[in-house]
Symmetry: C2
Subunit: 299 residues, 2 copies
């Protein structure tokens, strides 16, 4: 990325950005976003909105936010409103926000599902102030403590329904994500949800189910404690993820997730069949096919 | 671990160790083992035995081995013979080695399955020169290029049927693994194979199957390339693993692996049922149970 060129090209969208950012939800994504915008000098003042006093206090202590306010007050005082809360809470919260915003403000969300939200907002008179985004970065941790500097770098950010947002609003959001080191991809909301099921949601379900498999069978817990190595840790790491964040994602994207889950069970059954029949050639074939994922991972 | 104390206590087993190590197979595990033993000053000369000239040449170039020899010659010249080849090849190779060793030599293997090998060697007259081990460390890469310094650190190493090995031989092997930073666990071979199915083999099958799931459905490959993030990478990383190494492991441990695989499919079906019935409480319950894996991973 050519920073100098980008800065020059995209000065215009920043001319209207006063530098007050509101983050709705003070957790992993919004906290990391606020840290990055402060670090880059874009956010001069950050207002945090949280359901809990404990999170507000922690976010203030950690310097993620400068001030904690109720939703309406935060929205009124901000140039840019960034929503990163569980996807089921996003829809009603976003409707309240959109009823408050003016045509000088920009709203974006960071949710892992996009169709339900875009659909809910499609007829709102201020729809063009909203930019639907999904920065494809995260960890298995949540809450303000989980926020980190230099998040997002090198990952993809999906922007949906770009054509329904004000071009200046899109340009500002794109500029910010690019400055965070993200690669922007455009997609319609339905397609986004299909792809997200494949490259993100199924990984989480697999990991949760694998943790339950091992916990179910390995009653001698000390043995897991002692034996669990790198491979195990890698595949079950996501099982530490927050149910409050992920259950609504799976439920909101249930049709796509069910399609992928069915396919995944079918693929596991092929391994099962190869073992039951002691068919080494078939087992090899399945594994060699899986090895093709190298070209995706070692890109 | 108190290194000083260990060194004093375990000087005795080293008095008979001349410092010539033979590694049978020159790959990830044996190469990393040789590097570590050279680094610690235990291996003064390392002989490599490989099926292919290319691997021998690479291992010599990388300094993993000082000399490449055929199996019989390597065994005759060595104090310590370390076997790390696919588990199906291990049994006949180990039988050839055991027919050659004297009561001054020590043989150990590093295989991911233990019952079939221990069973094959149980009546060998030199059985007590063999120590059955499984250092629970690895990566998704294989071959001499994959060998790394400082492998094994902080991981568990299982020793099976300790009572069938010469106490001096066990003491030397334990001492070496401890010096590599490993924590020794004792288990019978049958139990080892059950636990290995849960904490290692199933993770690999899940990962292979997940890769096949995504490759099957995501025909628009560029989308995976662009969207695949950290969570996806973490869960499918093991799908890059070598079929030549892992297919024989799954097949040799097929009864245990099938048990775990059936349980895993059952656990995935529970997620499927919760989504089909839109039962948020059940979905939460499944995920909250999976979260208990935190106490294993964050140990």
């Amino acid at each position: 990325m050519d920073d100098v060129k980008n800065n020059t090209d995209l000065e215009a969208p920043f001319s209207g950005f006063g530098g007050t950012l509101a983050i709705i939800g003070v957790g992993l994504i919004s906290g990391s976003f606020a840290l990055a915008l402060k670090d880059k000098g874009y956010a001069k003042h950050v207002i945090g909105v949280s359901r809990t006093k404990a999170s507000e206090k922690k976010a203030l202590e950690l310097g993620l936010i400068d001030e904690a306010l109720p939703l309406e007050e935060a929205v009124r005082k901000s140039d840019f409103i960034y929503v990163a809360i569980p996807v089921d809470a996003t829809i009603p919260t976003m409707q309240r926000i959109m009823d408050l915003v003016t045509d000088k403000q920009i709203v974006a969300d960071a949710g892992s599902t996009k169709f339900a939200l875009c659909d809910a907002l499609k007829n709102h008179t201020m729809r063009n102030r909203f930019v639907a985004t999904h920065p494809m970065w995260g960890t298995e941790y949540s809450g303000p403590d989980a926020a980190v500097k230099n998040a997002f770098v090198g990952r993809a950010c999906v922007i949906c329904e770009k054509e329904k947002s004000n071009p200046g609003a899109v340009a500002l959001v794109e500029h910010i994500y690019r400055q965070l080191g993200m690669n922007i991809i455009y997609m319609d909301a339905l397609n986004h949800d299909v792809h997200a099921a494949y490259v993100s949601h199924i990984s989480h379900i697999t990991s949760f189910a694998l943790a339950n498999t091992v916990l179910e069978k390995e009653k001698e817990e000390n043995t897991i404690f002692e034996l669990a190595g790198g491979g195990f840790e890698s595949t079950v790491r996501l099982a530490k993820s927050s149910p409050a964040m992920w259950a609504p994602i799976f439920m909101q994207n249930r049709e796509n997730v069910l399609d992928v889950l069915n396919e995944h069970i079918t693929q596991l059954r092929k391994f099962k069949a190869s073992l039951e029949k002691e068919n080494m050639d078939y087992l090899y074939e399945l594994m060699e096919n899986a090895n093709k994922i190298r070209k995706v991972l070692d890109k």
